[in-house]
Amino acid sequence: MGFDQFLFFVFAGVAVLGSLLVIGQRNPIYSVLALIVAFFGLSGLYVLLEAPFVAVVQIIIYAGAIMVLFLFTVMLLNVPREDAAEWDRAHPYYRPWALRVGTALAVVMALQLGWALSRTPGLGVGVADERPAISSVAELGRVLFTDYMFAFEVTSILIIVAMVGAVALARKRES
């Protein structure tokens, strides 16, 4: 096993364990912090995929900006932990038909996914085997501002809409 493969499994383990911790306990603050850890694992995977700019953006935008937004909201609302007893009593998971049908559907979907993956050719081909990597930021910028120009401009409208919407929604109503 080469060093790259070792690093892959380390980063994949960090990402999966962090994600499991996000959904595996009831305190939202710990969920946010675990997700930041998972994002660092994913960032390492992007470095392994020779996409260093994506890795840096992942840390700055996701772990930096978005998670701070979440953390700010959790602390602003002083969110209580989920109540375990209430979860046990009220969760839809405990309706028998939901449990049975949901479990059956999940098993069917997992089987289908496994079947599809087992029949897909080329899964064993290494990501770095065939083509050289393009990791230069200049090339990224060139493609972003030529081929993806329209999508880029539409994204700016999306951000303005989201910004105005967030301010309008979170504003205190003056009565």
Binding site: V22, L49, G126, A133, I159
Partner: protein, 99 residues
Amino acid sequence: MAIGYYLVLSGLLFAIGAAGVFLRRNIITLLLSVEIMLNAVNLAFVAFGRQLGTVDGQIITFFVMTVAAAEAAVGLALVIGLFRHRESLNPEAFTSLKW
């Protein structure tokens, strides 16, 4: 590293995110689970882009991140508004529109 490993990892993370949406009873954790799912898709995009030797995968990742940021901003604003009304973050508390 074979592309299959990245795809399986991506599917695993997506499944964890989906399970979080179904299992947790806290709107903020639900939004976090959606972020996990978006990141799983990002990983698949970057892995495919690396194998095909193009920058398209990385660029779509930026768009996904932008959408995630917009979704988080609007979603958390909604959460704050909902919390002002009901003093709760349990989705079961917001069923006025439920038939």
